[in-house]
Structure formats: structure tokens, C-alpha cells
């Protein structure tokens, strides 16, 4: 399945035409008014606290983030629990393991409805990627492969989206218009994601006592869209995807950027997830809910961190991004102090950059005999090494940006993503890369490039076309340092830092889907959905508090998968409700782990557990027996509940058999002579209660034991 490299020079021409349209203006500092812009891309405050003393996440107070001008918001993507995908009737939620066939495609940017090319689309076209889709027959049809028009939108998914919009108190649209949102990275074979706006401007109660938060969280919008492919690999100019997840319906809930600390961001993410789960029609498990995070600090601009699967890592990612922005702003200040000018980095028309600018040279011959092995291998492979002079940037490539990463990583990431060099490493630079190349080589490079002491030199190597792209991208990113924080989408890395993914897309990449008619959302459908809508987590919590549960218990129960079971069992307020909630929370996860089932699958019917709860309320089951009785009811579904209850019938410590147990234990207590009495008593309690498994009242047993042990001690003393 080998193909030629995409060798035609035509793409360069296309880029010229396109880049004159948009790309340069995207990158230049002043963005000209080109019509609709995304709201609020720049942080409302433009006074970066450059002298802020950097601190790790756990040492930061909310007031520190206020000083930073930190704001953040969320885009929560939640897969919906439907039988089929959104625009075709392939099964949703099935994971593919086999590969039955593969399809290869390439993407080209198209004009938006308003006659503009989108900057992201252009960047992705520059990467000239071959996109490979791995197909498994049971999970994909011709629709997902863009070989057939869409089928009717999945009604069930529309209803879940409406329900979620209602739960978020949103303004519902009257008609869904399916739009195409361009993604040229190949993650969707059409080159666009079909997405429709469902609701706007809502809010949900945001109460997090431990963070001192008690306000409303405003929701900007909710859309219904199809999920993208799973990436398998991305090497050089070929990116490979799985198509099983593709087309799964998901909702995207976008909050206003009003989460004011990384911990608030995390709490907000959890809240939105709980609201989605309140519909009981969302998928759970790995990858079923993913969030994009938007962060900015004073002087910076909105940076989107994509595809975060869990809430745990959110705070650190947001914290690191805040400081990345601050560090980039410090870099900008240093560039200004040095009185540098971005126009010095401008490169004329596309073409081989080393023929166009004296900032760039083809250094392949000069470095052919280098001792730096990665570079020497590259030259042996026939690649081009090119050197780029960044005037005035001396020392700045080592300017810290993220934990363990300096500004050179920002350059390298652009090169990695856009020029796609297949081998690592692919660059070195003059600030600390001295060790890679010999002094003589650096001197020769500096002389050839006319580099002065205050300049930085970057050497990058790749196939010729890619080296040309790489050199351009290095200049482009360096020029963006004068802007401070360039608009980017970034990917979350495991260590809590982020890497460049693509230029932040604008609304230009949206255009109407000509394959689908508008879908009216009638009042009757809204009323129907509203009638059956789930109870919001906050309403549930209120109800559980009234039942006598503690604040934490109420919140946990409200967001648990067994909340409905709890409601069906309807325990009496007070102790029974508290005991049942604790028992479910402890025993159900245990059983799901033991049987390898999801927590939702392990749930028994209410009828099975109801006799236990009634017995608990009537005192026919002691609270201590609830856990073992529940274990038996769950673990042995065929055993009649009546028999389980009989085996846990409460006994009195005075009854003959328990009394005999007590006698026997007391008679063995001499083995512990010399131990403090409370230790002996604790041991004896355990010995008596264990065989009777919750059937005895511990208080009663304690009293009986204390008496009997006391008597034995007295007798023993009398004998001595």
C-alpha cells in the first residue's frame, strides 16, 4: 500500500493563493476586521503581571490567579447513549479491534460560506498529510467514509441534546441547522464535522463548598455533533485513524470563561459531566467524555487545550498553560526591550526559503561531515539541513516557557506538526546546542549567515520540501513571539504540559451542510422531552439532604449510577436512608470490580433489594447485617431474599446460642491476661460478632461481654 510522495509543486501555488487570502493576516499582529470573529479571544485584561513570582500549583491561592488575570472555560464533549450513530445506522459505542480494509485520502481547504479560507485549514493543508483510515466492517459504512450522503439525524440523540439543554436552562433553537466544521487533520473523512446548535445562554447552579464557590455557571452554547476518528499513529506525512468511534453522537457544552482558578475549572468539568449523566442517556467509560479547556491570563489570549479525558489532570494543565502564557509575555517584553522588529523576520513569496532570504541558508554541504549523528544520518538519507538566523534572539531560545521546556520547544513543535519530519531529533540551535555541532561548524554557519553575537541560529533537517516548510515555520513562530501568545490549539501531554496541535480555528471554518435539511424542534417535542427529563443533580441533592443524608453523601449519591435504584427503594428518611446510601456506595463498586462489570451493569432490580430495605426500616434487619445481606443478594441472585433475611434475623445477646458464644469467648480470654482490659474487650467483641454476622446488637454484646469479662477477672483475682 505504498504511494508516491505528494510531489507536485502545485500545492505551493495553492498556498500562495490561499495565504494571500488569510494566512499571513492570521499571523501578523493586527488582525484586520474580516467580519465575524470569535468573541473574547483576547483576555479582557492586557496588563500582564510580568514580575509575578512563579509558584507550583499547590502553592497558589485564588487571589494569585486573580493577579494573573487567569480565566478559563470548558467545552465538554459527551458521547450519547444511542443505538446508532448520528447520521447513519451503524451501531454506536462498539470498539473495533480488527482491520478489514484501509482507505487513503487527502484534504484540501474549501471556502467558507462567507468567502474566506480558515487559517487552521490552511495550516493543515500545508502539512500535506496522507490520511489512512482503518475500517472494520461491523463499525463503519460508506457514510462515515464520505462515500454516501448522510441519513436522517438520529432522533434519540436530538432528544438527549434537547433534554440536556433544558437541564442547563438554555434557550432552545426552533430549527437545527446542520453545519460543517472543517477539520483538515483527517480526523473526519469528509474533512468536516457535522454539528448543529441546539441551545444558547443557559446557566446551572455552581456550588462547591470546599472552594468557597456558590454562584451560577453560565453555559454559552450546546451543540449536537458527530464524534471524530481515533488516532492510531502520526508518522511523517502519514496519519492513521480508526473509524469505529467516528459518527457517534455527542453533545458539546461550552461554558463561559468564568472559571477563575484551575480547581474551579476542575469542579466545573465535574458539574457539567454530572448534569449530562442526569439524562441517564450518556455513555460512560474511557473516552466517552472529553473536554477542551480554554485558558488565558492578562495580556494573553484564549488557548484551547484539546481532548482531556479525565478531570484529575485538569488543574495542572490549566496552571501550566497560565504560566506558559506569562512566560511568552515576558519573552515579548524582552524582545521589546531589545528593540527588535518582527518585520526583520518576514519572508517574501513561497519558494525555496534559502533562495529568498539571507536569514536562511542551505547548510547541507557545510554540515555533511558533522559529528552529530542524527544530522549526519539525515544527510546520508539525502535530506536537506538548513540554518535559520533569528536576529537578536540570542539566549532567548532557552527562555523557560513550561516546566522542563523552553522557547525552542515552541519552534520545534511547529516544525514537527507542520513540516512533519519523520525522524527525531530534527533540529539543534546555537544557545545550548553547542555540543551537537562543532565550534568550527557554528562559526562557519554564523559567518555564512552574517550572524552577530546577539543572534540565535537554528539548524533543522528534513527532506527538502519539509526543510523549506520547517525554515518558514521557525521564522513564523519567532515572529509570533512579538505578539506574545499566538492563537493555538494545544494537546495535553501526560506530564501536565501541552504541545502545539494547530492554529486556533475561527468561525470561517463553518458552513452549512448542503446534504441535510433543517430539523424543526417543535414545541410538542420539547414538551415531551421536558416531561420525561431527568432530575438535575442539584435538585436530587436537595432531596437527599431532606432525607437526612449529609452534604457529601447527598452529592455523591446524586451523581452515582445507582441513584435511581436508591429512589426506587425509597428508604425512610433518617437512619435507613443514610445506611442504604452508604451500603450501596461501598458494596456496588466492590461487586462491579469483582465481576468485571460496569457499575451500571451490576445494578440489581429494586424488587430484589426492597425486602432488605423494608426489613431494615422495621428492625427486622440490623444495620450491621445490611452489608453482608446485600453482598449475598448481589452475589447469589438465585437465592430467595426471604432466606437471606431469615439468616440475618436479629438475635438478642441473651438468646441461648449467642450467650453460649459469649461464654466460650470469655473462657478463652485468659490467653490475653496482662493486656489492658479494653484490648481484651475489643478482641472478645470481634470473636463474638464475627460468627453472628450482624445479627447481634454490638452495644448489647459489649454490655454482656463487659459483665462476663469483669466477672471472670474478679473470680481469677479471688482465686489468687
Amino acid at each position: 500500500m505504498e504511494t508516491d510522495s505528494y510531489a507536485s509543486g502545485g500545492w505551493v501555488l495553492l498556498l500562495r493563493v490561499l495565504s494571500e487570502q488569510v494566512y499571513m493576516s492570521e499571523h501578523a499582529a493586527p488582525v484586520p476586521d474580516r467580519g465575524i470573529r470569535p468573541p473574547g479571544d483576547l483576555n479582557p485584561r492586557q496588563d500582564p503581571p510580568l514580575d509575578f513570582i512563579d509558584r507550583p500549583l499547590h502553592q497558589m491561592e485564588p487571589s494569585d490567579y486573580q493577579v494573573l488575570g487567569y480565566i478559563s472555560g470548558l467545552e465538554v464533549h459527551q458521547q450519547l447513549l444511542t443505538d446508532s450513530k448520528l447520521f447513519c445506522r451503524c451501531p454506536a459505542g462498539r470498539k473495533a479491534t480488527e482491520v478489514d480494509a484501509a482507505v487513503l485520502r487527502r484534504m484540501r481547504p474549501t471556502l467558507s460560506e462567507l468567502g474566506e479560507y480558515d487559517g487552521t485549514a490552511l495550516m493543515e493543508f500545508k502539512t500535506r498529510k496522507e490520511v489512512v483510515y482503518l475500517l472494520e466492517r461491523s463499525t463503519v459504512c460508506t457514510y462515515e467514509m464520505d462515500d454516501a450522503p448522510p441519513f436522517h439525524i438520529d432522533e434519540a440523540a436530538v432528544r438527549v441534546a434537547i433534554e440536556l439543554a433544558l437541564l442547563c436552562n438554555m434557550s432552545l433553537v426552533s430549527e437545527l441547522h446542520v453545519m460543517r466544521k472543517q477539520y483538515l487533520d483527517g480526523s473526519i473523512p469528509t474533512g468536516f464535522q457535522r454539528t448543529a446548535m441546539v441551545g444558547l445562554t443557559g446557566s446551572i447552579p455552581f456550588r462547591v463548598p470546599e472552594l468557597g464557590v456558590d454562584r451560577e455557571l453560565r453555559i454559552r452554547q450546546l451543540s449536537l455533533e458527530e464524534d471524530s476518528c481515533r488516532e492510531v499513529s502520526d508518522v511523517g506525512h502519514r496519519i492513521t485513524f480508526r473509524t469505529d468511534r467516528l459518527g457517534t453522537p455527542l453533545t458539546e457544552v461550552v461554558t463561559e470563561p468564568e472559571l477563575l482558578t484551575p480547581l474551579e475549572l476542575q469542579a466545573g468539568g465535574r458539574l457539567v459531566a454530572r448534569v449530562a449523566r442526569a439524562t441517564r442517556k450518556v455513555r460512560r467509560g474511557p473516552g466517552a467524555a472529553r473536554q477542551d479547556v480554554n485558558v488565558s491570563v492578562a495580556g494573553g489570549r484564549r488557548i484551547e487545550i484539546k481532548g482531556i479525558h479525565h478531570h484529575r489532570g485538569l488543574p495542572l494543565l490549566a496552571h501550566n498553560e497560565a504560566f506558559r502564557q506569562l512566560n511568552l509575555l515576558r519573552l515579548r517584553a524582552e524582545l521589546q526591550r531589545r528593540e527588535l522588529d518582527p518585520s526583520a523576520l518576514a519572508l517574501p513569496d513561497p519558494g525555496l526559503p534559502w533562495e529568498l532570504s539571507d536569514l536562511i541558508m542551505d547548510a547541507t554541504d557545510l554540515l555533511a561531515n558533522t559529528g552529530h549523528r542524527p544530522l549526519r544520518r539525515a544527510v546520508e538519507r539525502g535530506e536537506t539541513a538548513c540554518a535559520v538566523r533569528l536576529p537578536g534572539f540570542g539566549g532567548l531560545l532557552d527562555h523557560p516557557v513550561q516546566p522542563g521546556a523552553t522557547f525552542v520547544r515552541e519552534l520545534a513543535e511547529r516544525v514537527r506538526v507542520i513540516a512533519c519530519p519523520p525522524h527525531r531529533p530534527f533540529l539543534t540551535y546555537s544557545d545550548t546546542g553547542h555540543a551537537d555541532l562543532s565550534k568550527r561548524h557554528w562559526r562557519q554557519l554564523a559567518r555564512s549567515l552574517g550572524a552577530a553575537a546577539g543572534d540565535a541560529v537554528v539548524v533543522v533537517w528534513a527532506a527538502m520540501d519539509d526543510a523549506a516548510t520547517a525554515a518558514r515555520e521557525i521564522l513564523t513562530r519567532a515572529a509570533e513571539a512579538f505578539v506574545g501568545v499566538p492563537a493555538e490549539t494545544r494537546q495535553a501531554l501526560r506530564d501536565g504540559t501541552t504541545g502545539f496541535e494547530r492554529i486556533l480555528p475561527g468561525p470561517d471554518r463553518m458552513y452549512p451542510d448542503t446534504d441535510t435539511p433543517p430539523v424543526p424542534i417543535s414545541d410538542s417535542v420539547v414538551a415531551e422531552v421536558a416531561g420525561g427529563r431527568g432530575e438535575t443533580p442539584w435538585a436530587r441533592e436537595e432531596r437527599y439532604l431532606r432525607l437526612g443524608l449529609g452534604e457529601v453523601a447527598a452529592r455523591r449519591l446524586a451523581s452515582s449510577p445507582w441513584a435511581d435504584l436508591f429512589d426506587e427503594l425509597a428508604p425512610a428518611a433518617g437512619s435507613p436512608a443514610r445506611q442504604l446510601s452508604t451500603a450501596l456506595e461501598l458494596r456496588l463498586p466492590f461487586h462491579s470490580r469483582k465481576h468485571g462489570l460496569s457499575r451500571a451493569d451490576v445494578l440489581p432490580s429494586a424488587a430484589r433489594l426492597e425486602p432488605l430495605v423494608r426489613a431494615l426500616e422495621q428492625g427486622a434487619l440490623l444495620p450491621y447485617a445490611l452489608h453482608p445481606a446485600l453482598d449475598e443478594a448481589l452475589g447469589d441472585p438465585d437465592r430467595p431474599v426471604g432466606r437471606i433475611l431469615a439468616s440475618y434475623r436479629p438475635l438478642s445477646a441473651d438468646d441461648a446460642s449467642p450467650a453460649a458464644t459469649i461464654q466460650a469467648v470469655v473462657s478463652r480470654s485468659h490467653l490475653l491476661d496482662g493486656k489492658p482490659p479494653e484490648v481484651v474487650l475489643r478482641w472478645a467483641m470481634g470473636e463474638v460478632l464475627r460468627p453472628w454476622r450482624g445479627r447481634l446488637d454490638p452495644h448489647q454484646v459489649e454490655r454482656a461481654l463487659a459483665d462476663a469479662l469483669g466477672a471472670r477477672v474478679t473470680t481469677a483475682e479471688a482465686m489468687t
Binding site: I36, S174, E175
Partner: protein, 472 residues
């Protein structure tokens, strides 16, 4: 061409941009027009955005707003409490147009437009795709073309594929003749995919022995999508037309659904075989003439007509409309054929079952048609294989009724050829029959190679193993 291009044609007033009825009344009540930025207070909440035109084929109940986020939404007229104008911004839509650069070293290619969307833009009113066609527009959207050839375009019609007919075939044939006379190195024809193979067949007969390639091209997935096959088809067609060695009427479309290589199909053996997949065009009963990719034409077929430097060509743009194609079905009644004869049809192409059969019920009708001088030809519903009417008695009986077998000619091709032959020879029945049974452009072949029929059966282990190894 693609689904997106269909659906225009309503004649409501253009000034209202597709709005009518209740929606238009609401707009008028609040003094709002299309392209107004507005704030709408409704019973479902408040919305802000730009009022867009509405597709004329959509209902008259909703207003379409474009939000700042780029999304469109619909607002129902009876939810509107108030509309307040906050601005006005009319979108200017333009494909970046550049002068197509001419390179004297490159071949000159004439691109004839029929109305299909090779490059395109979107139309607000219909939500449909509008073709970009001038050289400048083409260069703006597929600039790679400038590396390949010097393109001059001529837009002949603006019709969708399904509206192409003999009048268009005739104009095309004449225009191809002119282009050949004017010294072009190749001709490309942009065409919708639905009836591309009909037009290809018609041109194969109307333009005989051209000295240069005549390459038909379109896009199966609309060119307004990033994954469209349009640009790649156009690039490869330009190669085939400008540089390719094959001087025949060819169809240049995707080989596999993967963006990998294009196939050059002979105009008389090609057929659209799937409603939507990219690899829809297949050569039937034979193999394609060539593959083309990345500036390389790889010949596959052993017989093909080479490019010539002369300018000789036979243009015969004739047509008789009184021809029909009848698809036989079990239980077909004789009156269906009788009524064609009564309506004055002069030629009937039958698409019969199996080796070329119809039921006895229609025999008398065929006999009457034959007696009335109507030309009767037999082709196959099976699409692959030869008409063989001597094997069974049924076939022999039908032959005796005056039905002429057409070997392995594709039914649609037979229809086109008979219309052309009747137009050419009028009342000379023998000449028509002679023309019909003599292959002119590969529409009938002497033999069917073993790989002329390769419809692999999915699910079979060995086929699945093969499919895993090749690009779909």
C-alpha cells in the same frame, strides 16, 4: 453532480432571499431584511446574529440566523416577540480569482463546461453548490493546474447532469471539432456524474477518430468539501488531456475510493455503478484503458488509439429522438411495446434477462413493431456478458421476430448509438443495422477477458484477505 447541487429552481422573488409567508411577514413587521445583524427576543429566549438568506426549498416558518460562533440556527416566526436591528453586513462571496498563468512549454487544453461542479462555491439561497469555472476561478481553487497545462475554458451550458440531452451532445461534438481544428492538445469536459457515461457514449460516436484526447471529468463528492475528489480528478484529467497518449473519448474518475490514482475509461464501456462512492465509474466487460496519477499515464489496455499530430476528425452530430430503452421485467405486457410503436418510436433497445430474453407474452407486440419498421435490438440487464440468443429456444424465437442482438454493448450505450445511427441514416434500415452491428469505438468487443468481470464478493475469506492488502 453531487447531492448538494440539486434542489434549486424555485422562482420566488430573489429580493426576499428565499423568505416568504409567515417568516417574511415577521421580518417586514420589524423592518428587518437579509444581512441585518439583529437581536431577537423570542418565547424560547434571546438570540443574536446575522439574518441569512433562506433556502427556497425550505419551509416559510423559520428565520435563519448566523451566530458569531459561525453556527446557523432557525427561529420560528411565531416565537418572535421582537427583532431589533443592530447592524448590517452583506457577505461578499468570491472565489479568489487569479489570471491563469500561461506557460508556452505546457500543452494547451480546452475545458468545456456543461454545468457540473468541478470547483465550486456555496449558494445561500438554495444552500446549494455553485460551480466556479472561469480559468481565474479554477486557478484560485486548483492552482496545480497551472503546472500541467494552459487551460482555456468555455461554458457551454449550465445544466445539471440529469438535464443533459442530445442537444447538448450535438453542441459538444461541434465544439470538440472546433477545438481540434484550432490546434488544442487536448479537450476536457466538465460534466455531472449522473449521466456522464451517456454523454461519453454519445461523443464516442459523434466524434470519431479524434487526433487528441477528449477527457470527461466530474466530481462524485461535491467540491465544497475538503475530501472532494474534484481537484484530484481535474488534475489527473488535465494530465490525460494535455500530456496523455490516448486519443479517444475517455472518462477520468477515481480508481479506488482512496485518493490514489484515476482510471481512464473508454467512453463506450464505462458506467456509473454506485450512487455515491468515489469509485463509482467502472469499465464493464473489459479493462480500463489506463491509469493516471502524479503526472504519469500508465496504459493498461492492449488496444488504444494513439495521439496524432494531424487535425483530422469525423464529427457526426446526428440524433433521432424516437428511440427508447425498455427494461424487461417478468410479466411485461405487450401493450407497453405497442404503445411505443403507436407513439411513433422508430427504435427500441430491449434490456433483456439472461442471455437476452423476454417472455412469450410480448412476442406478438415485437412482431407488430418489426412489421411497422421499428428497429429492435437486444442488450442485457446483466450488464456483463454477451447476448447469445441461439442457446435457448426462447432466444431463437425472439431472433425470428426481428430482434437484433448487440453482443456486449451496454444497454445505455445501445440506446445512444441507435439514436445516433437513426439520426445519421434516417430511413435506410440496412445502413442503420449495419452501423449498429459494427463496433466503432469499442462499444462491442470480440472477446471478454477473464478480468473484464471482477465484482468481488465481500465476506469471502480470500477476497477479504485481498481487500486488506489493496487500497479500497
Amino acid at each position: 453532480m453531487s447531492q448538494g447541487t440539486k434542489g434549486s429552481g424555485s422562482s420566488t422573488g430573489a429580493s426576499d432571499h428565499g423568505y416568504r409567508g409567515s417568516a417574511l411577514q415577521v421580518m417586514r413587521r420589524f423592518g428587518i431584511t437579509v444581512w441585518c445583524e439583529l437581536r431577537a427576543e423570542t418565547t424560547r429566549g434571546s438570540f443574536q446574529g446575522l439574518l441569512l438568506p433562506r433556502s427556497e426549498t425550505s419551509d416559510d416558518l423559520h428565520l435563519v440566523l448566523k451566530l458569531d460562533s459561525g453556527y446557523n440556527i432557525g427561529i420560528r416566526h411565531d416565537t418572535v416577540l421582537s427583532l431589533e436591528k443592530t447592524g448590517y453586513r452583506e457577505a461578499r462571496y468570491q472565489i479568489p480569482e487569479r489570471e491563469f498563468p500561461r506557460n508556452p512549454a505546457n500543452p494547451n487544453v480546452k475545458l468545456l463546461g456543461t454545468g457540473g461542479t468541478i470547483a465550486s462555491r456555496l449558494d445561500y439561497r438554495t444552500g446549494a453548490v455553485i460551480p466556479a469555472f472561469s480559468p481565474g476561478e479554477l486557478y484560485g481553487s486548483v492552482p496545480e493546474l497551472a503546472d500541467i497545462c494552459n487551460i482555456e475554458t468555455e461554458k457551454l451550458f449550465g445544466v445539471f447532469s440529469e438535464n443533459m440531452g442530445h442537444e447538448q451532445y450535438q453542441v459538444l461534438a461541434e465544439k470538440i471539432g472546433q477545438a481540434i481544428g484550432n490546434g488544442y492538445d487536448g479537450v476536457m469536459i466538465g460534466h455531472g456524474t449522473d449521466t456522464m457515461h451517456h454523454t461519453a457514449a454519445a461523443l464516442s460516436f459523434m466524434v470519431q477518430r479524434p487526433p487528441i484526447p477528449v477527457v470527461m471529468v466530474g466530481s462524485q463528492r461535491s467540491s465544497d468539501r475538503p475530501s472532494s475528489d474534484a481537484a484530484r480528478n481535474l488534475i489527473n484529467a488535465a494530465w490525460a488531456a494535455g500530456h496523455g497518449p490516448i486519443a479517444e473519448v475517455l472518462v477520468c474518475m477515481f480508481g479506488p475510493t482512496s485518493e490514489f490514482y484515476n482510471l481512464l475509461h473508454r467512453g463506450t464501456r464505462v458506467r456509473k455503478m454506485h450512487s455515491s462512492v468515489r469509485s463509482t465509474f467502472r469499465t464493464l466487460g473489459d479493462i480500463p484503458v489506463a491509469m493516471v496519477e502524479h503526472g504519469k499515464v500508465t496504459i493498461l489496455h492492449e488496444h488504444w488509439m494513439p495521439r496524432r499530430s494531424d487535425r483530422d476528425v469525423l464529427i457526426q452530430p446526428h440524433w433521432d429522438e424516437r428511440v427508447t430503452l425498455m427494461y424487461y421485467y417478468p410479466g411485461m405486457r405487450p401493450d407497453t411495446i405497442d404503445s411505443m410503436v403507436d407513439c411513433g418510436y422508430r427504435g427500441i433497445v430491449l434490456a433483456g434477462t439472461g442471455l437476452g430474453h423476454v417472455n412469450r407474452l410480448v412476442y406478438p407486440a415485437l412482431e407488430r413493431a418489426s412489421a411497422a419498421g421499428v428497429h429492435l435490438y437486444m442488450t442485457l440487464q446483466t450488464l456483463w456478458g454477451f447476448v447469445q440468443m441461439h442457446v435457448y429456444e426462447t432466444g431463437r424465437e425472439i431472433l425470428e421476430l426481428g430482434v437484433v442482438p448487440l453482443a456486449n454493448m451496454i444497454p445505455e450505450v445501445a440506446f445512444i448509438k441507435l439514436s445516433w445511427a437513426l439520426g445519421l441514416h434516417g430511413d435506410d434500415a440496412d445502413a442503420v443495422r449495419s452501423l449498429m452491428t459494427t463496433p466503432l469505438a469499442g462499444e462491442m468487443t470480440d472477446r471478454e477477458p477473464h478480468d473484464g468481470y471482477l465484482v468481488l464478493q465481500g465476506g469471502v475469506p480470500e477476497v477479504e484477505a485481498f481487500v486488506k492488502r489493496v487500497w479500497r
